[in-house]
């Protein structure tokens, strides 16, 4: 991989996605809205769990595909 293409690295791209999702939760921070008696800010953090796993799966498949293409 050349240094000038580092911004296109799957790891960097998915890190940017992770940062955006985190920022969305932490900036919106809806503490006064409640669902089932629990603050929506809490539910938003809870829902990120599945997003983090999906990002991990996307990364693994992406890199494996990249490896296959390089072979």
């Amino acid at each position: 991989m050349k240094s000038n293409s580092r911004i296109k690295d799957p790891g960097i791209i998915l890190t940017i996605v992770l940062v955006f999702v985190s920022l969305f939760v932490l900036i919106w921070w809806p503490t006064d809205i409640y669902l089932m008696g629990i603050s929506l800010a809490g539910w938003l953090m809870f829902s990120t769990y599945i997003i983090w796993f999906l990002l991990a799966a996307i990364y693994v498949l992406w890199i494996e595909k990249k490896d296959e293409n390089n072979e």
Binding site: L18, S22, G37, I38, F53, Y59, V60
Partner: protein
Amino acid sequence: MQVLETVILAIYLIGMTIIGIYFTKRAHSSEDHYWTAGRSINSYVGAFALFAALASSSSLMGAVGSGVALGIPFLFAYGFGAVAILPFTMFLVSGQIRRSGVATLPEFFKQRFGNSVQVVSVFIVVVGMTFYMVPQMTASGLIGSYVLGIEYKTAVIVLGLGCTLYAALGGMWAITYTDLIQGALILIGMFVLAALVLFEHGGLSALVQDALAAAPHFGDVTQPWLSYFGLFLAFLWFGIVSPSAVMRNFASRDARTARRSAMWACLLYLLVFVFGFVVAAGGASLGILDTLENRDMIFVSVIEHYMSPVLAGIMFAGLLAAIMSSADAMLLAISAGVARDIYKEYINKEASEKTVTRIGFVVMIVASIIGILIAINPPQLIAIMVGWVGGFLLSSFGFPLVLGIWWKRANKQGALAGMLGGAIMFLILVITEPFALVSEPIIAAPVSLLLTIVVSLATSPPSEEIQSRVESYHRDQKAV
């Protein structure tokens, strides 16, 4: 004394020790086997090992305890950072560090920045990991004192030394294979406990209503925003800056196995936090928080309330398993730091593998004794102590490591300034307490980032050789 629970615990601990002894001969056959299990662990064993190393006593007792005491959003914030640990580590460092061919974090710092940075990093690893033993020892003491009916202090000493014994005897082989069992126990135990809680309350919605009836602030964000943000940051970075977790990565057969292990371990960790939510709601519904001497004991109360003695015994074994596997991984990081990175590097270059392994053994014993001594009078809640360790390592290692991998211009002076500046700033903030709990890395980590960049730019760039090595971290695996 809870007799049945004690018997199950005893059988478990003896079983684990036998596994440790069984792998001793294999482990001591060479240094590489001792530290990284000969790099031959497959992706399923690797996933459980990674998961068990991450699912520490804090993930279970601390998260549940803080979720009940400080409101369930606090537990959600825990998982918000913690479930992202492995993906975040994969995205930014794990493939690159593997490609660099080093076995420990300080070794990477030496390869990239030179000897002085390595020495400082070993010092930080040893301090951080030794302190990280404290919450593990605290949790084992709490469980042990309840089950065995002995004094907390005695429980900390007995369980702490028992755990050290098999880690020291077997190295990574023993740790990895006992982790497989421990990882499974944690997961199944949490699943069964969550199912029992849900069954007793008649579903999730009724359970949450019961929890809110007994603890009206259960669903609230009770702490300042900075605390949630700080906790998120400290856990998010934990895989990158924690030497124990990073070392696990090298025990996999190849890069593909390492990535798959991390992905599946992420799913296991996600499940533990989902089950943890149910368990915390069950704990809140008991309405006994104010009667407990130590809020971290709420998890033990939930087990006692919802489970039969046999299941409770297995669950306590699972909890101790989580504690032991985390403590073992820390002990291994400490002993690797001192025996390999300091003794063999700087004191006796000619030392035989046997001598290095033996020194590692002694260092493990000394570190665990220090951990035990501090844990006899723990300074804070488990969750907060773990948050401190994550914050300290992030503030000192995080940016020098990531910039070392991704930015060729980062140099020795910048890394030293970033590491020391971040660590010192973190300690000042912990001691002076100007902000909300566990929010220290929000200030200290950017200070480290700024120092690494500014000092690197103000001094001469690294040699051509080092710059081309940074390029090689990013070349495809096949080309290396």
